[in-house]
Amino acid sequence: MQKNLKKLTKRSEPYIFLVVLALCLLIEVRSGQFFTANNLVDIASAMVVPGLFAIGTFMVIVSGGIDVSFPALASLTSYATTKILLDAGYTGGIWLPILMSMAMGALLGAFNGVFIGFLGLPAMIVTLGSSSVFKGLMQGALNSVQLTVIPKGMQSFGTSALFVATNPVSGLTSRMPLGFLVFAAVLILSFFIMRYTFFGRGIYAIGGNEVSAHRAGFHTKRTKFLLYVFVGMTASLAGLIRTCMMQQNHPTNMLGMEMNIIAGVVLGGTAITGGAGSLTGCMLGTLLIVIVENSMILIGIPTIWKSVFVGALIIIGTGISAYQVVRANRTGGFKSRIREVKA
């Protein structure tokens, strides 16, 4: 028991959880609106897209890589899907759009995967390059413009609700979007993959020591390739859901999300150098970022102070978990050693 407790204090999840909790309480105190049903549903719904992105980012960072191309990838696939279906006058359900965009996502993910997995090029460089390429394809070749009308099936998927939460006091209602179900499903799937499949353990192993992973019999190249394919698929799914939820496709407004998502994942205790981190922590970190971004007004931070607040939060939030590492370092813990070697 004591030992378990000690282990717990060495992890960063409890700290990030406390930070999230503290923030929630602050919002509650400032606005009295945090722990209301509709607000919680709002947060959950705002979590869908960043959450999906964060899952992919988490897996990539655990493998020792990094992906900065997912917003461009998601933008390209969701734009292409919406545009093609609009042009074709598609009126059917949501399945075709989902399949289409995920297939494209897999293809673009494979593009990353070939360079990173099979050629072994540094992930950062490859995804920087491919992000530019995807963006260029979307804006240049597809000549993207904002699409304010989306196919019927996508429209109704975006507006139909799992349930509707009503605030008994103000009477405000919030829809829990169907997309949340998708997010939850992907989350469970990823949890299963990372914990219960050798593909997932391979991702951890590669992040820890790629050469050893190869020698141990993991197909390291194939694993990395498939990983980027998977990430491409989740990212494109996120892009499509975002389009549905927004009821329109704005080709560029996901671009630039990557840094915040990565920040959330690392905030949640995932080692940027790979090999260590948990999906729980990753979700907590992302949740923290989402709550902050969607509660400025509730806390009562004036708009012009927003960036100051977010910046300070990132620094303090990461500072706290970084401090854990410094402490672990003093007692000869391993995380810090890994960091020193690979940083």
């Binding site: 914990r195 219960y196 499949t197 050798f198 593909f199 997932g200 353990r201 951890y204 192993a205 992040g207 820890g208 020591n209 050469v211 050893s212 992973a213 190869h214 020698r215 141990a216 019999g217 993991f218 197909h219 080692a271 790979g274 090999g275 260590a276 000869g332 813990g333 391993f334 995380k335 050693r337 890994i338 070697v341």
Partner: protein, 494 residues
């Protein structure tokens, strides 16, 4: 069935610019313990990687169990029953001991889904086989070097292996563990498993192996029965030269102590350590794993900070809170793990050599005096006989022995008074080891104070004028050269 389990013949392998293996052959019979020896860089590891499917040979053939192997992958090799314990252990620092142990076997069974219960069972069985005590849920990164190696060994042993290849398995093991390992090896042999054992340590080769093969410079020099071999022949085959080790005696002892350590303690590592070191002497510190010897070295060098006691350098009380303090006071440390702590592998040999004294090669604006820098690099390359055509080559192109010399050279370049070496010849071949000992002895004669931390007892006995024995973080005995015999040391160490 043939009576040859593995037959490699005419193997060639080239890397860019290096012909690593030039048509070597090797035969191993079932249940045989075969020793592969050779200087650093002669191609042993390369051959192993070819046998285990990590590399493909350029020419030549490999037969295993009568079947010719073509284009195999590591997993194929594992499935065939070939297991390798690599020189760098190939463990996953970020995963638990349990997973490290069980991953390979599960993978070789082509499992796709993880069964944690079964994994734990596998791991428990694996450690039980060699009676290795370890917390299965600990992260391997938090283990000591020797424990990591034990993990690697237990992992290899649990397979239904036909051939187990060990690339220098004992480098980081203490005597006790080596004995345990040998016992296991004998058990395996009894089960008909063949062992290919790569080692630089003469006594081990004689103790365990039945047959041996020696490579030099990518070629086969000799192969035969170990009983026909003696120490002199062994070194001669390996190096192509003959030499004898010299017993060190301190000739020019300084009269005042260079370094005095008084009641030094560090919670959880060592306590109440007191000793002194005079110029011109070589002090040996030995002890089992976890006896606190490495932590002591780190504390002297300022990487860890002692929490009680004091350190006096040249009679002056000195606070050493970081490596710079140590260096400024004329104390240097050759670390235990030269790859991760001692060297900048992708950088040039020159940079590696001069980094510790870099500020002295520059003017006061920290701009290099390029002539002085070049001279210094040339001097060090020559003085330490570093075998490379160009000091601007990357350090990773050097063999292990040469790399170790670079680490040594780096410190000696700074003109230190005191040098602490932690495992100075771990994994170094006989030739280089001899050279390094000669260098150290010379340095001592020139007035340096040297501390060798090692559990290679012959090394300690031969080179040290005094030996301190650590046990469980305390000094249990101090012996002088005359008293220091293997037997005497061992009896105190255990």
């Amino acid at each position: 069935m043939s009576d040859i389990l593995l037959r490699a013949s005419g193997i060639h392998k080239s890397f860019v610019g290096v012909h690593a293996l030039k048509g070597v052959s090797l035969e191993i019979a079932p249940g045989e313990i075969h020793c592969l020896a050779g200087e650093n860089g002669c191609g042993k590891s390369t051959l192993i990687k070819i046998i285990s499917g990590v590399y493909q040979p350029d020419a030549g053939s490999i037969e295993f169990d009568g079947k010719r192997l073509d284009k195999i992958t590591p997993i194929d090799a594992i499935l065939l029953g070939i297991q390798v314990i690599y020189q760098d252990f190939s463990v996953f620092p970020n995963l638990t001991v349990m997973e490290n142990l069980a991953l390979n076997s599960e993978l070789s069974n082509k499992r796709k889904v993880v069964n944690w219960k079964r994994m734990r069972q596998i791991a428990e069985e694996a450690v039980a086989k060699i009676n290795f005590q370890v917390d299965l849920d600990a992260l391997v990164g938090t283990l000591s070097v020797a424990q990591k190696q034990m993990v690697a060994i237990s992992r290899a042993l649990m397979f239904n292996a036909r051939l187990i290849i060990m690339d220098e398995p004992t480098t980081a093991l203490t005597r006790k563990e080596v004995q345990a390992l040998f016992k296991v090896i004998m058990q395996l042999k009894a089960q008909g498993i063949a062992i290919l054992f790569v080692s630089h340590k003469l006594n081990e080769v004689f103790e365990i192996s039945e047959r041996f093969t020696i490579f030099r410079n990518g070629e086969l020099v000799v192969t035969g029965q170990t009983k026909d071999l003696d120490a002199a022949k062994f070194s001669y085959y390996m190096t192509g030269r003959a030499f004898s080790e010299e017993q060190f005696t301190a000739t020019k002892l300084g009269d005042k102590p260079l370094l005095e350590v008084k009641n030094l303690g560090l919670a959880g590592a060592f306590s109440d350590i007191s000793f002194s070191l005079r110029s011109g002497e070589i002090l040996g510190i030995t002890g089992l794993l976890d006896s606190g010897r490495s932590e002591l070295a780190l504390a002297l060098f300022g990487i860890r900070q002692a929490d009680s006691g004091e350190i006096l350098i040249k009679g002056k009380k000195t606070a050493i809170t970081c490596p710079q303090d140590a260096i400024n006071n004329g104390l240097g440390l050759v670390p235990e793990d030269r790859l991760s702590e001692g060297l900048f592998l992708p950088r040039s040999i020159a940079d590696n050599l001069i980094i510790a004294e870099v500020d002295r090669l520059a003017n006061r604006f920290k701009v290099f005096d390029r002539e002085k820098r070049q001279e210094e690099v040339d001097r060090l390359m020559k003085e330490f006989a570093i075998a490379s055509p160009n000091a601007n080559n990357a350090c990773q192109t050097l063999s292990g022995g040469n790399q170790q010399r670079v680490v040594l050279g780096k410190w000696l370049a700074c003109g230190l008074d005191i040098l602490v070496l932690n495992g100075p010849t771990v994994g170094v071949d006989i030739g280089s080891k001899h050279d390094i000992h000669a260098i150290l002895q010379n340095l001592a004669r020139e007035g340096m104070g040297i501390i060798i931390i090692s559990d290679d007892l012959p090394e300690v006995i031969q080179n040290c004028s005094r030996v301190i024995i650590l046990k469980e973080g305390k000094i249990v005995q101090e012996l002088d050269a005359a008293e220091a015999t293997e037997q005497a040391i061992l009896s105190k160490m255990m």
